[in-house]
Symmetry: C2
Subunit: 329 residues, 2 copies
Amino acid sequence: MPRRRVSMDDIARHVGLSRTTVSFVINGRTDMNISEESRKRVWDAVRDLGYRPDAGARSLAARRTDLIGVVTDITTSPFGGGIVQGAQDAAWRQGKLLLIVGTDGDPGVEAAAVDMLLERRVEGMIYATLAHREVAVPKAMTEVPTVLVHCFDGALPHVLPDEAEGGRTGTRRLIDAGHRRIGLINLDPAVPAAVGRRAGYERALAEAGIPVDPRLIVSGDATATSGFERAAELLDLDDPPTGLFCCTDRMAMGAYDAVRERGLRVPQDIGVVGYDNQEIIAAYLRPPLTTVALPFDEMGAAAVAMLTDPDGPGAGRTIGCPLVERASV
Amino acid sequence: MPRRRVSMDDIARHVGLSRTTVSFVINGRTDMNISEESRKRVWDAVRDLGYRPDAGARSLAARRTDLIGVVTDITTSPFGGGIVQGAQDAAWRQGKLLLIVGTDGDPGVEAAAVDMLLERRVEGMIYATLAHREVAVPKAMTEVPTVLVHCFDGALPHVLPDEAEGGRTGTRRLIDAGHRRIGLINLDPAVPAAVGRRAGYERALAEAGIPVDPRLIVSGDATATSGFERAAELLDLDDPPTGLFCCTDRMAMGAYDAVRERGLRVPQDIGVVGYDNQEIIAAYLRPPLTTVALPFDEMGAAAVAMLTDPDGPGAGRTIGCPLVERASV
DNA sequence: TTGTAGGCGTTATCAC
DNA sequence: GTGATAACGCCTACAA
């Protein structure tokens, strides 16, 4: 039999002050200059009666919800969750709450989600994807400040990983270890991540004065099987590479097998660098995989920062992909 | 220069009806029996003026927020995220929204999170943990219906995986494949998952008329390294097991290495079953790992179902751990 | 069928 | 220093 919730009125009545006064002390407003005595009595009453301000009512009157909406196709994924995580942490630190809805990529659900969030009067939205890709967002999304994370649509501000820099970083790690012939096991050349990473790869080679050999650049899908096959092709070349830069850790996982199958060892005979830093693969492979990480947490945090910036989201940002050093090169 | 939001009043004025009438048609109330004509005009106006009901205002007046709070230490984890995912999906289907706050297990943050959620007037809360364990929740949590997921505190209703059933299932899979000597690489015997799984293991053996050999039961931590070491011990026994039931997929990953190192093969020589169904390990191991899955999604969905059940959360539930058949036995 | 009026719990404006 | 009083946007008896 839960008693009626205690309201601000109850507090006011209890301490014999007006609602206004109570509101002021609870919101810690100093401009209205209230006696220490009254302040204390109010706080005591709050504690004694177990009063909790009603955020909904407050929002209605104050016209701010402190809510940020998130619509994303990221679900259980072992990775990518970092975006939501980073956003959540950043939001929490600013007293904002996230309203997250997972859409599984279904456009119908996305539109419904945006509507629902708009009805909740979110003050901004984040649209985040698992894969780096171009998207078309529900148009209602533009009704509030919105930032795209890990995706872009040519119009809205976005936060993207700097794939080119990542590609360069990974490649250079191999070069620094003395490798001159470095194979690139790329993703489907059409996807944004692939073009960026390849550009970075070529740039790193150029900077080291190493000519790019097209035969050393192959591509496949993001699976261990694919990595295995592509690595095998590369290793069976007449003049095989001694370093392998794989565009996903899964591919690197497959590459390990190809290397092993040829009686070679990582890293003594072949240096391998992955991409994604999927802990569960990278850290537990033997030897542990040196890989380029996608800065998910930072991307999520950056998006929130852009949204809460009083000057508005700005144009967009790109975030570096740091190298995670382990033992495969 | 965003025009003032359009309110219900605007609609009413626009169509020349009262707010009441508009409210009724928008909320689809049939009891009040309104002319088709009026209904249509209202909906047209809604569309034309781009009206969106204000969920906050609605909550205030109707005394229901359709909000469920989630406090959890599950973050980016490659697994466990399924709980939030399952909860989110179930909530969405019921028109509820989740207010999720990740606490990283910090009790201070947890308490603050609960307060914040209570101020938002969530109608129920879910407290979910990554690991199956006993917890102490912030006491304010009991102010609304709450269910614990993947954890328990002896008082609140909870949703737990049926570890014993899972232990039995995994073990039986090995037995069914003809194995009679089956090693159990358990977790720290003190943790709930370990006691449940071991009980299931012993039960399966008993049902098959196989005596339990204490030397076949070892334990370690949930790492590949630990799995490697424990498996090695077992395989080096005078009378080694032919089947290995590992309490985590990571352990199984290590066990694979131990098997391989001894010139044996999975599954021909040694059958291996894991636990957790961490896709990224289980599916990409060679051969792919047969493993017992933790029903995260179902647990999350069950929690939401309990919360939205008009009869209240009830006492608690336990959910089965299905076997995911791959190729390691 | 439709309209009136009061209430939900706060904030905010101004006067006292 | 403090207190009426009017929003905020919507719901809902109750009346017409």
